[in-house]
Subunit: 427 residues, 2 copies
């Protein structure tokens, strides 16, 4: 795909991408499962066959990012290695192995007048994906959209455009091999930031949903400018509440895992709430376990008192997604206190309670208004794969359509098929 | 609820309505079914007890609308009568009799690591309803939101503010009787049109979804200004396709019912497509039946040729939702031609095929991309009640979250409750 530049922005070309996607979506919506899976497997084969080229192209992207003074974490995210390319290829094969969501009958019933009503899964249409410099997302998102019968318009971060282009060429080869339109997965490669604005406006009615994946500035821009529905993947200010009836060993294992298994994922815990009625037994060992594992602890007064290494938490800490080895810790008056704190500071992503009291656990599960609420398990299970959904595009934090992990089923909608034998509606 | 006016617009009061709704939503989300149903039944009783007052207030609204020169159809929509008030009260009781959608477990499964995952229905939160001058919507929408555990902010047309206020007082009495916060259903009674704008922006983050019900100008405004998700209820340019393998008697009955049972509903047919291979037997009798029933027919060349009363259709006719006793009629080359015509001109609302050929029917059901597709049945079945969902707020024409009839289930979202016994996620 080449962008013809006019007045600094290739609006016509972007609109053409939209039209092509809409037309490809109609083909894709009706494509048999076997044809879509063949495209996914052929794309995986192409990735393996071209791995050396892809790594060379990616090395140049890394070099440019380093020259531009990008931080190490940024460069790590855009870096491909042999095993990472293999993981991307295997990811596409895993998507191929999932059941086809399209055409599945979700529900069916018969009316007294004999009408037979079925609710049938159909694709959403055209999905616009806006993401930062992680080349693996190009394959993951393209593959998930293809499997769910949607056309995809991908706009990745400019620092890995060349890596994205190389990966996209493999997806295009897969589509070609399977006899599907290559325009089913298109890559927007203009570096003009206004391209994102045009996508957020829907590319002339072509885009049915925008999936943004990125930091706060992208998310804020999306919320301000989007004129089409959005699967928001916002911050995860996740909480673990340790109740007075918690088993200390279980609580310690869950808190350490929720915070430190990976600190950069949206399901990582950012705040530990401890029941003040259990503080005497629980607070010091939990805080010390975190400190000993290398985690910075920012605590309220009681937490500061248990270990000199704890620093005082400010009000802002309760609002902060650290995405780092830092945790805020606070005593709360029981499960009600935890529920109130989460209602005030949480981001409706994922929260966990540790307790051996089933009634307290059920209160928490019922009253905490988050996409995922867990009892006696780590918040890091907030993941489509861990839920058994296969690959995911991310964790949706909105309340609409998809909530929690967004996999192939969540990328579909439905229609009603109604079968009659001449029914007309009485007056 | 009184609006304090400042600089012509009561922004502070509107924001206060939002905050009160958000706080009421937390209570309502956890309210037991019996308490919500008690509020609905008490509201119905209040409507009956105050019917005379309501009718007197409504008569004044009618008088003012007549004095303002509003057309008869407009005045009919805002007019209440004894039977209409009784129907509104019975509607609330019907909603009370529906099963409570909140808390229902939609799906549950266990993971190999022993985690038990449930997907549980929960309310959406705060629903902002913007509608025109139909006082019955005040009760219907308020009742459906209450049943589904959502707080409602209702903004009806200014010409029936007093009627709405009288009906709203009955809803408030019902909430009070049941011990629920009266702020669970609030009525915005400022006549300032900017109130709609503030609602579309979400009232400071308070509104989770906007449900607009109205004509094109409202819908266009919503699409331009809404910053929160919308359940769009757009136009229904519904089609009936009569295939060459159709039974003429069945086709005639379905076409007449689809077009003429009620012409003002969104599921009314606006275009009749006839298979050119069956035109010789089908076209003239279908067209004449429509003409004889008092329907204006705007046809393509072949249709004009069958009866002198047919007027030629212009290109605009294929795009038009008449909501009147007018139909456009066209020959198409078989089911493929019908599918292509609908893809080009339809509004993805409701379409029907009449045929005795099951393979042709399945092609149509599969390939027509509308919320509702029917075989051998009238498009006027596009209705939540006819689908067995009970009352509905309307037919959603978007592809997101709710598609087709929006009843109490569609006014909910879900969360995942995950029960473990100490699981942590491996690296």
């Amino acid at each position: 795909m080449t962008i013809r530049r006019q007045n600094g922005l290739a609006v016509d070309s972007l609109l053409a991408i939209g039209r092509q996607a809409k037309s490809a979506a109609r083909v894709l919506a009706l494509a048999p499962a076997a044809q879509k899976d063949r495209a996914l497997r052929a794309a995986a084969a192409a990735l393996r066959a071209r791995a050396d080229d892809i790594l060379a192209i990616n090395a140049a992207d890394q070099e440019a990012a380093r020259a531009a003074g990008r931080p190490a974490s940024f460069i790590d995210r855009l870096t491909l290695t042999g095993p990472r390319v293999e993981a991307i290829a295997r990811g596409l094969e895993d998507i191929a192995a999932l059941p086809d969501p399209v055409g599945a009958v979700i529900a069916s019933w018969e009316r007294p007048n004999g009408l037979k009503i079925s609710r049938v899964r159909v694709p959403l249409g055209v999905i616009g994906m806006i993401y930062e410099s992680r080349p693996n997302v190009t394959a993951d998102a393209g593959g998930l959209c293809l499997k769910s019968g949607n056309a995809a318009i991908l706009r990745g971060g400019s620092e890995c455009f060349e890596s994205n282009r190389a990966i996209h060429a493999c997806l295009a080869e897969g589509l070609r091999t399977a006899g599907l339109p290559e325009t089913a997965i298109q890559l927007v490669t203009t570096t003009d930031r206004d391209a994102v604005g045009y996508m957020l406006e829907g590319l002339g009615g072509a885009i049915d949903v925008i999936v943004p994946r990125g930091g706060k500035s992208l998310v804020e821009r999306v919320q301000k400018e989007a004129r089409v529905p959005v699967f928001a993947h916002l911050e995860g200010i996740c909480h673990v509440y340790v109740d007075k009836a918690a088993d200390l060993e279980m609580a310690r294992a869950i808190v350490l895992n929720a915070k430190l298994r990976r600190t950069g994922v949206c399901g990582a815990a950012e705040t530990l709430l401890v029941d003040e009625a259990g503080a005497a037994q629980l607070l010091r060992p939990l805080v010390q376990a975190l400190l000993d594992a290398g985690c910075e602890v920012r605590g309220d007064e009681a937490t500061c008192a248990v270990d000199a290494r704890v620093v005082p938490a400010a009000e802002a800490d309760w609002h902060t997604e650290y995405l780092d080895a830092i945790i805020s810790v606070k005593l709360v008056p029981g499960v009600r206190g935890a529920i109130d704190h989460i209602a005030k500071y949480g981001s409706q992503h994922t929260e966990s309670i540790v307790t051996d009291d089933p009634a307290t656990a059920e209160t928490f599960l019922r009253e905490v208004d988050s996409a995922i609420v867990l009892h006696n398990a780590s918040t890091q299970f907030a993941d489509g794969g861990e839920f058994g959904m296969g690959a995911e595009i991310g964790i949706a934090t909105g309340r609409f359509h998809a909530r929690g992990p967004v996999g192939v089923e969540q990328l579909t909608t439905f229609k009603y098929a109604v079968r009659g034998n001449g029914q007309i509606r009485p007056l």
